[in-house]
Symmetry: C2
Subunit: 473 residues, 2 copies
């Protein structure tokens, strides 16, 4: 069985934690694990292959997390640090230059597989806590898929949620799909006991799905086929071309196939599931202290209870507050009443009018490591740059800024113009505007440098890449 | 008339804005003015001399604010930037190495003045908005003081405050001083209309005060006299010796004199007064937007009202919150229910157990300018250092850290070992651990450098000062 992991989703409802360039599924919400990692870990116990469908921009985030996860490292590379543990094969990546919703993503993934391959399609940003029950449910689904069905997973609703679609069932048979209901209708659904939340997880044979797609949404099928036939394969990565992807109609798998096909079945799933789709949902899943505040080492709390306090950088002090959501990040702070966290979307809409706060964090992740803006002032900008072992930045130059580099940890190999030299901890160098330069970490330890940019303009777009390991423009 | 300005007070109730090394009176709470500046400005219209009683550590903060205030600049130095405007003389400073409460502070100040000098004693951290009424009240007080009385100012209470002492009056005569009452008693006081809040402001002849102190608290008088006789005078600064100061009993002027003397009078004062003693009080004084949130350019607010939102660095987003106090600073965030802000003291008590957050901000003010910690990590620390025109840091060296300096604005004159050289914007230098060095700004513009400290220990106490313009150890 192959696990198709869908990594779309921008997760703006968890702003300011989750932003376009670091969406919910890759944020380490629960201790040191992201939902993406938890998803791949969970399914690697059941499936023997992983096929990860990701945006081109987020590809390296996925690879990075797999490489650094001791349980999954061997699925990406035979690292010395982490000896092979599971029998899972290396995952394959399907890279989309732009998102076209779930129907094209699943179609493209299925086209890369044999027709009789059983696939388990899962979002990458859901939490499933009852793994024993999950395995049972998957076995049932697999049997139904082998018999030629398109299987959906219906989550037993625990309350009258108005944010999800519902599946009306009779045994494994689907009677109807229902759109997001109003509260009264949702309450009826919960009481009826044969209505389930549509979880966005599916199980079927790749070929059966493609046949049904061809019947019910032939345009999507055809455009996806063209896109697949023109993919650029490199190692275990399939990259879809931009113009091909653009030509595929945007549609969800529910609309394109599930609500139309008569081969659809539903497996009722009581698996302690959450889509962690809001801060209210996140609060429910995080560990709490004895006053029902989420446990937080930086919290100093007086007479406060039932609060989500998220943020590990600064001291957060609370006095006499209750039922609040407090989310602290370096450049943005959110304070919301509990129960109102759906309105965070409105905040994001406001914020994006005048800032980039919906898009980027102070820390930006790059294929070679990360940078963190320490100060962005008129005439200069200060960054901490971390380069992972064996990685290097592009060969580049800037028009408007000079750069001063100080190595504060590790050893850098620096190219400036014709010269290449090493800089140890506590050594520094200077790169004049216009100078071609490159930063490489050829050691086995992390490299950390402080970069002081000085110039009239220090925007990220003042960069000309002459050579790049990651084929960026 | 001489205005004795008392600058004690650590203002922990306004943490995290106010901290020991940057207490409430020096914080620019209202636009670009501190309460200290507002106090000196206000009284400079009535008094012809200022005598500022300050802790040694905060002396330069006071001087700095006076120098940079266009209305007051001439009171400190004949700056080219600010031509002389008022007739007020340069203020005198009385510097206390340690605090001993108000009785010794006022005693020492009075000892520096002629016996028949009328003095107006004011705290430096109160707000008085009705300046016309204030002037009238002061005229009455001055007349009573000239007649040999010790005059207190009784603020007409506007609600049943339990945090202040009350003065019971019969006309200008004081019937009794009352300790902080319980709520029921406070309500009676307010209804009675002849009870006033004790404002901590006084008016009397210096000699009369000292006579009454000698009668009612002879130990304080005697120890203060010894301390005064041993003061170290330099220019218009009187510095009290540490051992002498330590020998003076700690007491408030109310306990030591006012509650005991029969020469005390009270002038009822309806002057729109606030001690800005809590965030609840601060909320009342700040300008609001149409939802009664305090105006804040970084606020993105959805369905939120009646909140104090304080912090101008990062974006603060609120959803459905009401009657909250949110105070954001670089290294600490406070969220309190309105009406509970007295409990901030408890937070400070917690915080000081394990951190220095009660004491210092990320930005530390120094006689020569300021520094701001941009990052404090294992093995290195990054600071922005700003040096005011004409100022220089001490000649110093460090045992454990190397320093990299990059000039990002202005021009630095740097001494390292035997060499002295200039560094322009975008130039850098390196100071090895053990090297004697100094940083000077001899230009008329601010100098800004980025300092990267690299070493196993980067604590502030790894500094040996060999020469210092500010006589620091």
């Amino acid at each position: 069985m192959t696990n198709i992991v869908l990594c779309g989703g921008s997760g703006t409802r968890l702003w300011p934690i989750s932003r376009t360039l670091m969406p919910k599924q890759f944020v380490r919400l629960f201790g040191d694990k992201s939902l993406f990692e938890l998803t791949v870990e969970r399914n690697s116990q059941i499936c023997d292959k992983s096929l990860i469908v990701s945006n081109t921009e987020q590809y390296f985030l996925a690879v990075d997390q797999l490489e650094n996860n001791p349980k999954l490292a061997n699925t990406v590379s035979q690292s010395e640090k982490f000896p092979r543990k599971s029998n899972m094969q290396n995952p394959t990546f399907l890279l989309e230059p732009i998102g076209r919703n779930t129907a094209p993503a699943i179609a493209l993934a299925c086209m890369s597989l044999p027709k009789d391959e059983i696939v388990l399609v899962t979002p990458s940003d859901h939490l499933i806590k009852d793994e024993l029950e999950y395995k049972k449910v998957l076995n049932t689904a697999k049997e139904l898929a082998q018999a030629g069905n398109l299987v959906t997973f219906g989550i037993t609703p625990t309350y009258a949620e108005i944010g999800y679609g519902y599946i009306e069932a009779d045994g494994y048979d689907v009677m109807a799909f229902h759109e997001k209901p109003d509260l009264q209708t949702a309450q009826k659904y919960v009481e009826a006991t044969n209505y389930y939340w549509n979880s966005g997880m599916f199980c079927f044979q790749a070929g059966v799905f493609l046949e049904e797609l061809q019947i019910h949404s032939p345009k999507i099928y055809k455009a996806s086929k063209t896109a697949w036939d023109n993919n650029i394969a490199l190692n275990s990565t399939y990259k879809i071309e931009h113009s091909c992807m653009e030509a595929i109609p945007d549609d969800s798998v529910d609309c394109a196939v599930m609500e139309r096909s008569d081969k659809v079945k539903v497996v009722p799933s009581n698996i302690s599931w959450s889509d962690v789709g809001s801060f209210d949902a996140l609060y429910d899943e995080l560990p709490k202290d004895r006053y029902n505040n989420t446990a937080n080492k930086n919290l100093v709390s007086i007479d406060s209870k039932n609060n989500l306090i998220y943020g590990d950088h600064r001291c957060i002090a609370t006095v006499d507050i209750e039922d609040l959501i407090v989310v602290d990040s370096g450049d943005a702070l959110l304070i919301s009443k509990k129960g109102s966290s759906q309105k965070v979307k409105q905040i994001v809409n406001e914020v994006k009018k005048t800032t980039q706060l919906h898009n980027i964090h102070l820390t930006g992740y790059r294929p070679w490591g990360s940078y963190t803006v320490l100060e962005d002032a008129d005439g200069y900008k200060i960054k901490r740059i971390e380069v992972k072992p064996g990685k290097r930045l592009s060969l580049q130059r800037h028009k408007h800024r000079n750069e001063h580099w100080i190595v504060v940890a590790g050893t850098a190999t620096v190219t400036v113009g014709e010269d290449t030299f090493e800089l140890e901890q506590n050594q520094s160098t200077y790169i004049k505007a216009g100078d071609i330069h490159r930063l490489l970490n050829k050691t086995k330890e992390n490299l950390v440098i402080i970069e002081a940019q000085v110039g009239s303009y220090t925007g990220e777009d003042d960069i000309e890449r002459l050579e790049d390991d990651y084929a960026r423009g």
